[in-house]
């Protein structure tokens, strides 16, 4: 059984890694966009597994993007270093927010993260225009790898791999038991000597760094940032809907959800050019009401009955 699993994973990995050799530019582009959302969805789910609901993906995504672009403009160093810098900045900011808010019940944290994107947008707008480009944003001279789709794909694929590996390590490691005990019973976890607060902050910082990393890569790929586009509710909403649809509290649920919704989204965008976000909102409502374990849960139920 285990050998089979390893074999399937290796085959999937090889297929995904060698994709640029036999697919066209458009498909490759679509796939790496889906992979970005997939990384966001998995990282969001990791925090959810610790019992904390975040609406702030867009905020961290935007911070990562802005930090990377600003460093790029000021120093003009290697874009990959800028991407790392963006991720680290998102991690640092989340450390401050986590330290301030994670001691209390989940609702306070959730609302703070809901305000985060808007707050960061206000801050970026109010900082001197020479730093942030003001409402117009910044346009870089050149996209990363001079816009080469293959290398861009491998970059995003790499980020996705890091996210998946971290998520799986989380599930298998000692930390996971701590997290699960937090989720199941905070009082039991507390009385068994687990420092809930410390672990929550650690997890929040890791997932935020991942989200900042995706945001930074996104801006380096598109070569521009602006306060409205990079802090758009889009980046909070889509990963959330993907993870919920696929099935929360696992690595593979968000992966499935991202593939389904990502491909459907491409079609939807053609079908209704604006206002298609309503579909994602409806998906969130319907999944919560009727399919709380998502597609993964449905598959499990069907296979168990046999």
């Amino acid at each position: 059984m285990k050998i089979w699993k390893a074999f399937v994973i290796a085959a999937l990995f090889l297929a995904a890694a060698s994709l640029p050799f036999y697919t066209g530019t458009y498909l490759l582009h679509t796939i790496y966009i889906i992979m970005m959302y997939m990384s966001l969805a998995i990282s969001w789910d990791m925090l959810l597994r610790a019992g904390q609901l975040s609406f702030g993906i867009a905020g961290l995504f935007g911070i990562g993007g802005y930090a990377a672009t600003m460093l790029q403009v000021f120093t003009n160093i290697n874009p990959l270093i800028c991407i790392l810098f963006g991720a680290i900045m998102a991690g640092l900011i989340s450390l401050l927010i986590g330290l301030a808010t994670l001691r209390l019940r989940g609702i306070y944290f959730a609302i703070i993260t809901l305000a985060m994107a808007e707050i960061f947008r206000v801050i970026i707008r109010n900082l001197p225009d020479t730093w942030t480009g003001g409402a117009m944003g910044i346009v870089l001279n050149n996209a990363i790898f001079n816009g080469d789709v293959k290398q861009t794909y491998w970059l995003v694929f790499g980020i996705l791999l890091i996210t998946i590996v971290l998520s799986e390590v989380f599930n298998k490691s000692r930390i996971h038991f701590a997290i699960t005990s937090i989720r199941n019973d905070e009082i039991v976890a507390m009385s068994s000597g687990i420092d809930i607060f410390k672990w929550l902050v650690v997890i929040f910082v890791i997932t935020s760094t991942l989200q900042g990393l995706v945001g930074a890569a996104y801006t380096e790929i598109y070569g521009s940032v602006n306060p409205d586009a990079n802090f758009s509710v889009h980046y909070s909403l889509l990963p959330l809907a993907m993870a919920l649809l696929g099935g929360i509290r696992s690595t593979w649920g968000p992966v499935i959800g991202a593939i389904v919704l990502g491909l459907a989204g491409e079609y939807l965008k053609l079908l209704m050019p604006y206002g298609y976000l309503i579909i994602y909102g409806l998906i969130i409502i319907l999944v919560i009401l009727f399919l709380p374990d998502g597609i993964m849960g449905l598959i499990k139920k069907l296979t168990q009955k046999k």
């Binding site: 959810l48 019992g51 609901l53 609406f55 301030a100 808010t101 001691r103 209390l104 019940r105 989940g106 609702i107 306070y108 959730a110 609302i111 703070i112 809901l114 305000a115 808007e118 707050i119 206000v122 801050i123 707008r125 109010n126 509710v233 909403l237 959330l240 919920l244 604006y274 206002g275 976000l277 309503i278 994602y280 909102g281 409806l282 998906i283 969130i284 409502i285 919560i288 009401l289 709380p292």
Partner: protein
């Protein structure tokens, strides 16, 4: 008991501080204080129904501001179609939103009442988004503005000029506050609601229909917020995402006052509204006013978690 008396002291200190602050501003820039009070009243009247839902039904309604947005669109639509004063739209809005509240409760809120907080938050977040996007699809994202002549009336006393229509918000805040207080204290349903808010299981044991109470409180709150939407549309532009900041600010007020503390909301909305007005009045700093509520909410959370640790 000690903690309670300490809290009381702190509250008195806050009130004293607010009065001192008000006197200072009144001496230096009276119009800032007036504008701040008008702004505060609007925040208070929006936060009150949200606090009612959170305190008794136990649900944070992240679609709260979006219900107000719907009310505003209704006022706009009513005024344009009928040619009547949009203020008249308050009566049909109240009825319509009571019905919308009932429908929302049965379709969405009731199924998640017993489930995890995360599910409730996600559900109302999804609902808010659907409302916003529905408005976006049917009215586009362009801001709409009603032109009602008496709304922009102003009064000049000495060298002090201020808008008079905005005192409608002060009036509305006082009215809603007294109605809610009286309702909770004097009526049978209101008393039952307080009992349910404190202990749903206990309330059920003594024969209170908990679900009916939830239904009434939820629909009533939605009716209030929808009606406020009409008032809001008279003075402000109407656009699909206009409600979101008010949801956030309402939660900020509730978090500062503490769940179940209706009177506290009035005080803290005064703090929020007047601070925003002061910052808006400082030249070059107006853009930072949107950060005040975030600073206040983080401050409230820090104080609260500090208290928890001391306990």
């Amino acid at each position: 008991m000690q903690i309670v008396s300490k809290l009381r002291e702190r509250r008195y200190q806050a009130i004293l501080g607010a009065i001192i602050m008000a006197v200072i501003i009144l001496a230096v820039k009276p119009e800032v204080l007036l504008e701040g009070i008008q702004r505060s009243s609007l925040y208070a009247v929006i936060a009150l129904p949200m606090a009612l839902i959170l305190g008794i039904v136990g649900i944070i309604n992240l679609a709260h501001g979006d219900f107000m947005m719907l009310g505003s669109y209704m006022a706009y639509w009513f005024a344009v179609k009928s040619g009547l004063d949009p203020l008249l739209a308050m009566i049909p809005a109240m009825l319509a939103f009571f019905l919308i509240g009932i429908l929302t409760f049965y379709a969405l809120i009731k199924p998640v009442l017993g489930s995890q907080e995360l599910n409730q938050l996600l559900l109302t977040f999804g609902l808010g988004l659907v409302l916003e996007e529905a408005a976006n699809l049917s009215f586009t994202s362009a801001p709409l503005k009603l032109s009602v002549p008496y709304v922009s009336a102003s009064l000049t006393i000495g060298d002090l000029t201020f808008g008079t229509f905005e005192f409608v918000y002060v009036l509305a805040a006082m009215l809603v506050f007294y109605i809610i207080s009286l309702f909770l204290k004097k009526t049978r349903i209101g008393r039952a609601a307080r009992a349910v808010g404190q202990n749903p299981k206990g309330a059920k044991l003594v024969g209170i229909d908990v679900n009916k109470t939830y239904l009434i409180i939820f629909s009533l709150s939605i009716a209030i917020i929808g009606t406020i939407g009409v008032l809001f549309a008279m003075r402000h532009s109407v656009f699909p995402v206009m409600g979101a900041p008010y949801t956030m600010k309402s939660f900020c007020l509730i978090a500062m006052a503490g769940i179940g503390n209706i009177t506290g909301i009035l005080w803290y909305s005064a703090l929020l509204g007047v601070s925003e007005s002061i910052i808006t009045a400082i030249p070059g700093a107006a853009g930072w006013a949107d950060l005040v509520f975030f600073a206040l909410i983080v401050g409230a959370i820090l104080i609260r978690s500090y208290q928890q640790r001391v306990k």
